[in-house]
């Protein structure tokens, strides 16, 4: 019939849609279960769901999806977290923690983690519910459009989101559930609570929401937004969650803002492995610190809640403006201790 041999159903990715979400919709549109569709389309020897395809999509997957849906390869690639390169993180790497990107923690095919968040109102407003790239981003703890908190688990059964598992264990089901149905208990995630964001510092939350809107739009180059700010924000969040002088920095911000301290995991964990409520709290503290730059950081330092040598600790990629500031503080410190 046709020369291109496209999949008969080849819906294109929605705006900001994750590759994995699109792939599951493709399988369903073609009348197959995800696992069957992938086995038939990519071959038995290629495993799709034992890896984080949104972060590290293999070339054979991207190529096939491009060819079979008539979608330019560049568009297919922009359905992966690759679009945040140079914005949220510097380099892609095959393993280990990527700054600001939530890990999926894949054990075989099961995802044990809570690395995919969702806004119930966004899902409810979709003609066909789909999952967004932005929802894999650690500081994306609330929806800038709906001003409500995201969720990182099913409110009924507390399992993480894993829409590729929807039909597993339902041999009778062919492929009909929308992606917003909990794979584990069948709850419709669109019915989850819309908890309003508690806006305790209007300036911090304004900057935060502005950054999230950019993240949601694929982090475009914007002359009025310097992405290095997000890198410094990451360093500040690390400091807020660090053990240094018994968590004095978090203590300091809590006192200044009247907000409760974020609960800390025992030991050293990357920001990205924190669950949503704690992460939200820590990132909020970091945004507050960045406000009125650099006066609040200086104040924290004067209050002995922050040591100058932490500012650049494990932070080789620090932007110049930040590095300059850290050096100035060091000079000021040396002068003080000299007197």
């Amino acid at each position: 019939m046709t020369e291109m041999h496209l999949w008969p159903a080849h819906p294109h990715p929605y705006r900001g849609e994750l590759l994995s979400s699109w792939l599951v919709r493709l399988a369903h549109a073609n009348g197959l279960k995800v696992q069957t569709f992938c086995r038939l389309s990519f071959g038995n020897e290629f495993q799709v769901w034992n890896r984080d395809i949104d972060r590290l999509a293999p070339a054979w997957l991207l190529d096939t999806m491009s060819k079979k849906t008539g979608t330019p390869l560049s568009r297919v690639e922009s359905a992966t977290l690759h679009i945040y390169k140079g914005k949220l993180f510097e380099h892609e790497k095959a393993s280990g923690q990527l700054p600001w990107i939530l890990p999926l923690q894949i054990y075989h095919r099961k995802r044990m983690g809570f690395g995919l968040q969702f806004c119930p109102q966004c899902l409810a407003e979709d003609t066909e519910p789909y999952f967004r790239l932005a929802w894999r981003v650690a500081p994306f703890t609330f929806c800038p459009t709906h001003q409500c908190m995201l969720h990182d688990q099913c409110p009924r059964c507390s399992q993480g989101v894993a829409f590729h598992r929807i039909e597993l264990g339902h041999p009778e089901l062919n492929s009909t559930n929308p992606l917003c149905i909990c794979w584990s208990c069948g709850y419709d995630l669109r019915d989850s609570e819309r908890a309003p964001v508690h806006n305790w510092s209007s300036h911090a939350f304004q900057s935060w929401a502005k950054a999230l809107r950019l993240v949601e739009n694929g982090a475009p180059i914007n002359s009025r937004f310097d992405y290095s700010k997000l890198s410094v924000l990451h360093q500040m969040t690390k400091l807020v969650l660090s053990d240094g002088i018994r968590g004095r920095l978090a203590e300091f911000i809590a006192t200044e803002t009247g907000q409760p301290k974020p609960k800390k995991l025992p030991g050293r964990f990357p920001v990205e492995s924190y669950r949503l409520p704690e992460r939200h709290q820590a990132v909020g503290f970091a945004w507050w610190l960045l406000g009125r730059w650099p006066s609040r950081v200086k104040r924290a330092w004067h209050a002995k809640s922050l040591r100058f040598n932490w500012l650049l600790r494990d932070y080789a990629e620090a932007p110049v403006w930040y590095r300059t500031f850290a050096k100035n503080i060091r000079t000021a410190f040396l002068e003080i201790s000299h007197q």
Binding site: M1, T2, P8, H12, A29, G31, L32, L40
Partner: protein
């Protein structure tokens, strides 16, 4: 040179060298004639028929090599599938499919899924494949299902025949599209044994040609399309009678015969089809061919 015997499109081909001209003669061409046009009109009406739970169906009946397939392919070519890479799925207004050699529902679905280039499990359960077929045919916007060689599935075991016809009925109802079946007289007879089905399939006959005005007109149409430099006057009584008996009134046979003769006319520099060319063309009449096959078996 006098080119009054040729259609505009054929005159242009006279400029080609002999090799290219022969290639054009051998490529398939469509010759319209009243009965075919009537059926094409009928098909166009069916294609735009408003969706309902009782769609009308059509059974095109004709003997082997009497132009059924050519006619239906003519129709399908006018309503081609479109990859629609910028849209959500391919567009398939008309799906043309050959019936499987036996009335086997699973194989029928496999054939449909294969035509759609859909990923599918050939050994999946029949009900699952049926679901997938219905889902996809809806998705691609199917408006008509054409099943050629329908007599294949109407031969043999009566129960299986009935079961298969029920599948067709189910598909038609479910998708709300007309089904056009194409087959021989055997198919027509099989359908007549079930009044309910006979009701749903209106027959359209493509009878064997008889010697008469229509046949002479057909010969004129053929002549106008064959790029030969001289007029053959195929409709002259001697040639017409000869062509009629050689083709035994089957239009498919006639088309083949005239193609061979026209090629010979170019090669021999005769540049027209006459008794001489017809003497030399290697031709076995359909009846003799059938006898040869029967003897070999």
């Amino acid at each position: 040179m006098n080119t009054e015997h040729l259609a505009e499109s054929a005159i242009k081909l006279l400029d080609l060298d002999d090799v290219a001209r022969i290639e054009r003669i051998r490529s398939p061409r469509w010759i319209g004639y009243p009965k075919a046009k009537e059926i094409l009109t009928k098909l166009d009406e069916l294609l735009t028929y408003p969706k309902s739970h009782r769609m009308p169906n059509l059974l095109i009946v004709g003997d082997t090599n009497n132009g059924k397939t050519m006619l239906i392919q003519r129709f399908c070519n006018q309503h081609p599938a479109d990859d629609n890479p910028n849209g959500d799925g391919v567009h398939v207004p008309v799906l043309y499919i050959q019936a499987p050699p036996v009335p086997d529902e699973g194989r029928f679905y496999n054939a449909i899924l294969e035509l759609l280039f859909a990923p599918y499990k050939p050994n999946d359960r029949v009900d699952k494949k049926q679901l997938q077929v219905i889902k996809l045919l809806r998705y691609v916007g199917l408006k008509m299902l054409v099943i050629d060689e329908i007599h294949h599935v109407l031969a043999g075991n009566l129960n299986k025949q009935r079961a298969f016809l029920n599948v067709l009925k189910f598909l038609g109802n479910e998708l709300q599209v007309p089904i056009v079946a194409v087959g021989t007289r055997d198919a027509f007879r099989a359908l007549q044994t079930d009044p309910q089905l006979a009701n749903r399939f209106e027959p359209a006959m493509l009878p064997r040609w008889e010697m008469g005005t229509d046949f002479l007109r057909l010969l004129v149409s053929f002549e106008r399309m064959l790029p030969l430099r001289k007029a053959s006057n195929l409709h002259s009584p001697e040639l017409a009678n000869r062509l009629f008996s050689m083709s035994e009134g089957y239009i498919g046979e006639l088309a083949q015969l005239l193609t061979k003769a026209a090629v010979l006319a170019v090669e021999s520099k005769e540049e027209r089809i006459n008794e001489n060319v017809l003497d030399k063309v290697s031709w076995v009449s359909p009846t003799d061919r059938k006898r040869q096959v029967d003897r070999a078996m």
